[in-house]
């Protein structure tokens, strides 16, 4: 983790980067083994997560192979999204590679802020033959594809929202099973909450992601009929019931400050065994199987999200790497994406314990499946089942809507309001409904 003798190199690099970054012309790709992008500075930005962290460790190899210098920026999820959205909206050239975040993908693609990648993929000079774009799960490529059929991002994660219990031994001690329905969940939580000072339940405060499976489970939905009818339906009786149920989980069983928990905080809490149940994607849950950092690796158990009165609707998420429309180093950016998501790199990540690959070859590989069986629970199989189910029922269509981020924020606020006792479920959801309508109108929709 610590860099030895970095001072001079970094100062020199800083000086060079300052002066040269925007001014250096791109080198023409050389024939043969000469460094292809010598002198180019690439600005890569994504949010901090397992895969980007692995990439950050392996960056020097990319830099050595291509001669490019990579500025790697990985702030937290909300900070990243706000910055990326602002930069993309002006078609700026500050970033060369960006993470196409799942809830923003149709907003960014639909507004024309990303570069279509098909030409790069098809060009044999730019793309190695074994990149094999079709190896990526179709379900993962779909959210990264625009209405025009072009691909705008290469997925690096395809995950599903699953339920995890970090101290399943406490559940077993209480004589109960892994909860299957929403009622079961409450029963189990009541039995194990605060046992051995372990809080019952927490979820990361991006409720527009963690809450929606429950919204669907109770029979509600975000829009009336996405993507055609975008009238929000956040104040229906089912939605209110779902919000009430979910916020109550946080209020009754949550740790201190539950509504401020960010995703990596949740992962940390699960690893340390401070919180029992949570819903998260394999991107985070796979880390619970790391014996070096996870104290609960022997007591963890995974399962699908609970089934509600209307059924089970696990959420799915896909993030990808894309190139902004305004980037000035698109070829170098594509070279980076190619390296970052090549078969070698993704396989290496899987071997290192990465939990949500987007390549079918990785998903099917023995290494992946073996690593993802944590304490007897097959995380990979659960995720695959959930993803398959999602593609059948189509309940994730609400996320293909370009104005979803605004509604996402309203959901975040609504659940936080209910869980902190500032409003009851009905008031909060009605407020979310009214605000969403106002925001959608402001975004130019006619409702």
């Amino acid at each position: 983790m610590t860099a030895s003798r970095p001072n001079r190199r970094h100062l020199l690099a800083a000086g060079a980067a300052l002066g040269a970054s925007a001014l250096l012309p791109r080198q023409a790709p050389a024939q043969g083994g000469a460094k292809k992008f010598q002198g180019v500075t690439l600005n890569v930005s994504t949010f901090s997560a397992a895969y980007p962290k692995l990439l950050q460790q392996w960056l020097p190899e990319f830099e050595a192979a291509t001669g490019a210098k990579v500025n790697y920026d990985a702030p937290s999820f909300p900070v990243y999204n706000q910055r990326a959205d602002l930069e993309l909206s002006t078609r700026g050239s500050a970033f060369d590679v960006v993470n196409v975040t799942f809830i923003y993908s149709s907003r960014w693609i639909g507004s024309g802020w990303l570069t279509p990648l098909d030409d790069y993929i098809r060009n044999p000079n730019l793309t190695a033959a074994d990149f094999d774009i079709d190896d990526f799960l179709p379900g993962a490529r779909a959210p990264e594809t625009g209405r025009d059929g072009k691909l705008y991002g290469v997925p690096w994660t395809a995950e599903a929202l699953l339920t995890a219990s970090s101290r399943f031994d406490l559940v077993q001690q209480a004589g109960l099973q892994f909860p299957d329905t929403t009622d079961d969940l409450v029963k189990v939580l009541r039995a194990v909450n605060r046992k051995e000072r372990v809080a019952g339940f927490v979820a990361d405060n991006h409720y527009g992601w963690t809450f929606v499976p429950y919204l669907h489970a109770f029979g509600g939905d975000v829009f009336r009929k996405a993507p055609d009818d975008l009238f929000p339906t956040l104040d229906t009786p089912e939605a209110v019931a779902a919000a009430d149920y979910y916020a109550n989980l946080l209020k009754e069983f949550g740790p201190d400050g539950a509504i401020t928990y960010q995703p990596d905080q949740v992962t940390q809490a699960l690893k340390l065994g401070r919180v029992n149940f949570s819903d998260a994607g394999q991107l985070h849950l796979a880390q619970l199987g790391d014996p070096a950092t996870s104290k609960t690796v022997k007591t963890v158990k995974f399962g699908p999200v609970p089934k509600g009165p209307a059924g089970r609707f696990p959420g799915t998420a896909v993030h990808g790497l894309g190139i902004p429309a305004g980037s000035k180093n698109k070829e170098a950016a594509w070279a980076f994406i190619q390296w970052a998501l090549s078969k070698q790199t993704t396989r290496r990540a899987v071997a290192a314990g990465y939990g949500s690959p987007a390549r079918r070859s990785d998903v099917d590989s023995k290494e992946f499946r073996a690593k993802q069986v944590i304490n007897g629970s097959d995380l990979a199989q659960l995720a695959l089942d959930s993803i398959e189910q999602a593609s059948k029922t189509g309940h994730m269509k609400y996320r293909t809507v370009s104005v979803y981020p605004q509604v996402d924020q309203q959901l975040n606020k609504a659940i936080a309001l209910i869980a902190s006792g500032q409003a009851n479920a009905k008031q909060a959801m009605q407020q979310a409904q009214a605000q969403s309508i106002a925001e959608l109108k402001r975004a130019g929709l006619s409702l």
Partner: protein, 304 residues
């Protein structure tokens, strides 16, 4: 010289100990006098020490956290083996570069503000024209205006002009508050320079700006230095403009810290180390210009 500079600013700078100390002791019976007298003599010092501790404790806690080893962050132990790991981890990534950017932008902005503002302050001091009060109000408003009011138009303009994410662009934006500070503060310093000296120079045939360069400026030099430092500090401390108007090239240190706000344990030492480093220049400069600091912070509101 210091007496002239402070004589007309009674509200802003404590003069040396007043002639008659203010004693609040009411009459007391003789028997109790010694104990209460001790308390009265040292009570204030004690209270001052306690208040000082309360004021500095949060800051010192941050600084000591920067030296903790990562595992000890969640511990209760007050004693620990200090390490420089937190600072070393800052060397990876963009932080050093952002520190450098902060230095460059602050210096650039200070120099520009002084170049434009000092002559203007001098002109405003010596040339009593009618619109003076309006100009003063305008200057006050620019200093008081919330950054968001300027960021939106600047963002669009800079995007169009290509100054987005550049050090020059950021330094130009900082003029919105720095110029006002320079004009206001230097006015007070120039006012303390007696015009008689300049009148004498005029009689000798000096032009206005020659007199300025030879007489007023050297006499106001301490004030100039203090103003420069204040401009530097205000530029260094800015967060909002840098957050919106910079991305990767011109990102300044306060904004770069935000990247560290992840949750894992070892990030806390990194955050603390970064915070300490970003605060360091400011604290050092504060000690240097402490006499003029309060004046700088009330710029525009108190006429003197």
């Amino acid at each position: 010289m210091s007496t002239t500079l402070t004589a007309d600013t009674p509200l802003l700078h404590a003069p040396p100990a007043p002639a008659a100390p203010l004693v609040h002791a009411p009459a007391l019976p003789a028997a109790r006098r010694p104990r209460t007298a001790w308390l009265r003599r040292h009570g204030r010092s004690l209270a001052a020490a306690l208040v000082l501790a309360a004021v500095l404790f949060p800051f010192l806690w941050l600084v000591q956290l920067a030296f903790r080893p990562a595992e000890a962050v969640f511990d209760d132990a007050l004693l620990f083996r200090p390490t420089l790991d937190g600072f070393a981890s800052l060397l990876q990534g963009n932080f050093l570069r952002s520190f450098w950017n902060s230095l460059v932008v602050s210096t650039l902005s200070t120099v520009m503000s002084l170049l434009i503002g000092v002559p203007a302050a001098y002109a405003l001091t010596r040339w009593r024209f009618r619109g003076r009060r309006h100009v003063a109000l305008w200057i006050l408003v620019t200093r008081m205006a919330p950054p968001i009011a300027f960021t939106i138009p600047f963002f669009l303009a800079w995007r169009w002009l290509g100054l987005q994410d550049t050090l020059l662009g950021l330094a130009l934006v900082y003029l919105t508050f720095n110029l006002a500070i320079v004009i206001w503060l230097m006015q007070t310093f120039f006012e303390a320079v007696p015009p008689a000296l300049e009148e004498a120079a005029y009689i000798d045939g000096c032009g206005v700006w020659q007199a300025f360069r030879r007489i007023a400026l050297p006499l106001a030099a301490p004030g100039l230095a203090a103003t420069a430092v204040l401009c530097f500090v205000f530029s260094w401390n800015d967060f909002f403009y840098a957050l919106i108007l910079t991305r990767t090239q011109a990102v300044t240190a306060p904004v770069a810290i935000v990247n560290f706000l992840q949750y894992e344990g070892w990030e806390w030492t990194k955050i603390a180390a970064a915070g300490t480093l970003v605060a360091l220049p400011v604290v050092v400069f504060t000690v240097l210009v402490r006499r003029y600091l309060v004046r700088g912070l009330t710029a525009g509101g108190v006429k003197d």
